[in-house]
């Protein structure tokens, strides 16, 4: 990993055109071949960058200033003119063992599969990831009257999720062994516009609390 602190100007020409006037910035060159240019704000997002694979050509211009030309795929170009070099260091960091994550949508779906009465009183799970021609439905349940219920689980409920569930319902209702199938949209938070669309499509909405669900799971575990 190479860290360059320098006063520089940058031009990007690729999927869009962007330009950075002269200022002091951090230029970060990683071992994976990527390059990113950071200012002292915007949190972790760089101002400009190039993803690997890309080639970096360092040269010196007419006035003796370092000049980098970075070429990425698709003809993308990043042009860096260094006007004043403050610092240029490199470190060999070695291998990255990797990040462990817990608590994403997959986990929420697993919790709901085990406690599907949270979605509706008396619901019984038929199966997780119930297959259809256009992809698997998160959960397929049956309610107290034996009616099939397709459940779409999201961490954040937005309009796309309602569309997705609508498509599944269209296909599931073609199966005479299942029809009529009703839909439930489950998420930690459901946006107002998604609720409007769901109502318009006859889909019910349920908001669940992740910590509470996990709490139920924990209490259950304590019983054994």
């Amino acid at each position: 990993m190479r860290l360059v602190i320098a006063r520089c100007s940058v031009a990007y020409r690729g999927k869009l055109a962007a330009h950075l006037p002269s200022a002091q910035r951090l230029i970060l060159v990683k071992a994976d071949g990527s390059i990113s240019i950071h200012s002292d704000d915007r949190a972790y997002k760089p101002l400009n960058w190039m993803n690997p694979p890309c080639s970096i050509t360092e040269s010196t211009d007419d006035e003796g200033l370092p000049h980098w030309l970075v070429r990425g795929k698709g003809g993308d170009e990043l042009e860096i003119t260094i006007e004043e070099l403050v610092s240029d260091t490199a470190h060999d960091l070695g291998v990255e063992p990797g990040l462990q994550k817990d608590g994403v949508e997959a986990h929420l779906q697993a919790l709901l599969a085990e406690r599907c009465e949270v979605i509706g009183a008396g619901f019984q799970l038929v199966r997780r990831e119930y297959p259809t021609d256009i992809g698997p439905v998160d959960l397929l349940c049956r309610d107290t009257e034996g009616i099939a219920v397709a459940v779409e689980v999201k961490r954040r409920g937005e309009i796309d999720g309602v569309e997705q569930l609508t498509r599944y319902l269209g296909f599931l209702n073609k199966d005479p062994r299942l029809a009529p199938v009703r839909g439930v949209f489950v998420a930690e938070q459901i946006k107002p516009q998604a609720k409007v669309l769901a109502a318009d499509r006859g889909i019910s909405c349920v908001e669940v609390d992740y910590d509470e669900l996990r709490g139920i799971e924990s209490s259950e575990l304590r019983l054994f």
Copy 2:
């Protein structure tokens, strides 16, 4: 901007839980109060981070190792245990003049709003970002016969955009002052599948050239 190279372990507890085993990494502390932890790969994305505003508390643990506790909003916590400090430097970068972008959807939409006859001969703009219960339509126009036309603008025309326009048309057609409303899908490039779906929905497709549109704008400017 502070740059720390160190062997460290990291734990994040917040929107999810995540853990990083011991390895050498770059810890980037920016003037905006953000912190991010980078490995030598994954391009510009850090392994862990905390967005501003957050507070960093540096202490020393039982074994004399530096220990950082970062608290963000919503009770999020980032815990960094430094096991070996390789380098710790700081630079004052000064103000960032900012990034100029050109060629994104907003610009395309603005150009089309001014020249909506490009979408259809004789089209007149009613308004940009015309509001509906499920979100704003990019452009609402009227054609030569006074029929309302909902226009969805994308940089890349894919199936999602056709779905989006279909939803808008459904809601707009409920308004007796507008109905019947027809739809036009405009993009620099429209994928074949999106064209098929649009045709199936009675939506017309128009492909426009960004440079040409900008060219028209430039020539207009030259006249004055």
